[in-house]
């Protein structure tokens, strides 16, 4: 009889042994296991991503020559506009540099722009993350800001051999110091409003009570540059709703984020030049 009872308890004894072993396992071994299992799966993710790129390439090959000529013409117009803007940016940079020297101000951090393809999107109700196809092989550091044409994408959380994991700005774990456009007072942004079958939104807190925003009159929320991770002035989203918070001292509300965030195929990592 006791052996039968032991047989019945055996699975639970095994579970207890597994849990105990896991708790007592040194952190180094756990880290090794984590990295090993990630790197084991990385080739699958990158291969699938390359296959999608190839699929896209062959789909684009089906365009007619007339389509390509038309696209080339449009690109020439865009390029001319950007060329003019680049000249203006250069002039402004020189002006900033001159003022920094004149006023003996510490210069803003400089970045190297590292474009990277998105290998995997993982947008659950619990978390929102991307895996990009560049990692330690391109000198990407953990914590580096990630941007795209519409503004902020998120922050690099983990760096692996040739991939990196990015916490998206829609993730509840991402909190940023921000400013409302043309105002220097800091406010707080946090991701986390990810409804089903609809674009993600964020939450803004500690907004001074003299601000008003609505869906008809949205206010642009930009990075403040405080904390030193993101350069100032990058678009996070648009505040579409503001209500007085419970303490009555500040306002809090919702931030509408760019729907393109959920379809990203390419992003740019800002690699701080000081860290190199």
């Amino acid at each position: 009889m006791p052996s039968k009872r032991f047989d019945r308890a055996r699975p639970f004894i095994a579970l207890g042994a597994v849990v105990l072993a896991w708790i007592l396992l040194p952190v180094v071994v756990k880290s090794f296991l984590q990295v090993s299992f990630f790197e084991l799966q990385a080739p699958i993710q990158t291969t699938a991503s390359y296959a999608r790129d190839l699929q896209e390439y062959w789909a684009e090959r089906t365009h007619s020559k007339n389509d390509l000529i038309e696209a080339g013409r449009e690109l020439r117009h865009v390029y001319a506009g950007y060329e003019f803007q680049a000249q203006q940016t250069e002039a402004l940079r020189a002006e900033i540099s001159r003022l920094e020297q004149l006023l003996r101000l510490p210069s803003n951090p400089h970045y190297r722009y590292e474009p990277a393809r998105v290998a995997r999107r993982d947008f659950a109700g619990w978390w929102q993350q991307l895996v990009i196809r560049k990692g330690a092989d391109f000198g990407i550091p953990a914590g580096a800001p990630v941007i795209y044409a519409g503004g902020v994408v998120g922050r690099v959380r983990e760096v692996h051999a040739y991939t990196a994991v990015v916490d998206l700005v829609t993730s509840p774990s991402v909190r940023l110091a921000a400013n409302i456009e043309e105002d220097s007072r800091p406010v707080s942004y946090q991701g986390g409003l990810n409804p089903a079958l609809r674009p993600a939104r964020g939450i803004v807190e500690y907004v001074p009570p003299d601000f008003f925003a609505s869906a008809k009159n949205p206010k642009r929320l930009v990075t403040s540059g405080l904390g030193g991770v993101f350069p100032p002035g990058l678009t996070i989203g648009y505040i579409t709703q503001l209500d007085a918070s419970t303490d009555g001292l500040f306002k809090s509300g919702e931030v509408s984020l760019d729907p393109r965030l959920s379809e990203l195929a390419e992003v740019t990592v800002l690699v701080p030049l000081q860290s190199e």
Binding site: R10, Q34, I44, A48, W126, P172, N194, A196, A200
Partner: protein
Amino acid sequence: MDRRWLITFATTFLLWSALVQINHYLAPHGAYLFAGGLLVAFAPLRLGLRNGLIATLLIGLAVDALEPVPFGTHLVLFAAMHVILFHLRTRFPREEPIFGVVVALLANLALFLGLSFVLLGGHPASGVAWARLFVDLLWSQLFIVVVAPWFIAFQERALELGRVDLVEESRVTF
């Protein structure tokens, strides 16, 4: 290396890799599939404790490595679910595919809720998060209903090809 846990882990890993790709394509639509229940359902019902648990622990580690949870969360949850299913398996017609589907659905529900309670602490908008999770759970259960019969048959066939006698294996208690 034992073929039994190796084949079971390989087939489950294949499903997990496919699920990762499906979720990539679902991301723009604000939907997410979780099929943890399906990943752990087969091994406790059809294999001995040791071989089944090894396969479950390995798939738990594979999931933990990709997801932003404390490393070991899926491992412990999957192991606990494995042991519970193993303990209960003699009371049910575990070789019936339909029973496998029901077990996968119930296990998925339990794991999904367990994971949600672990991960949603301190969420800035838990009301919206729970509404989203409820819809995701609905999609996930539908996915399991569709995929589980094929996946169970696939695992059985893979083990047969690996010359594993499932009838003999289901009698093994450890």
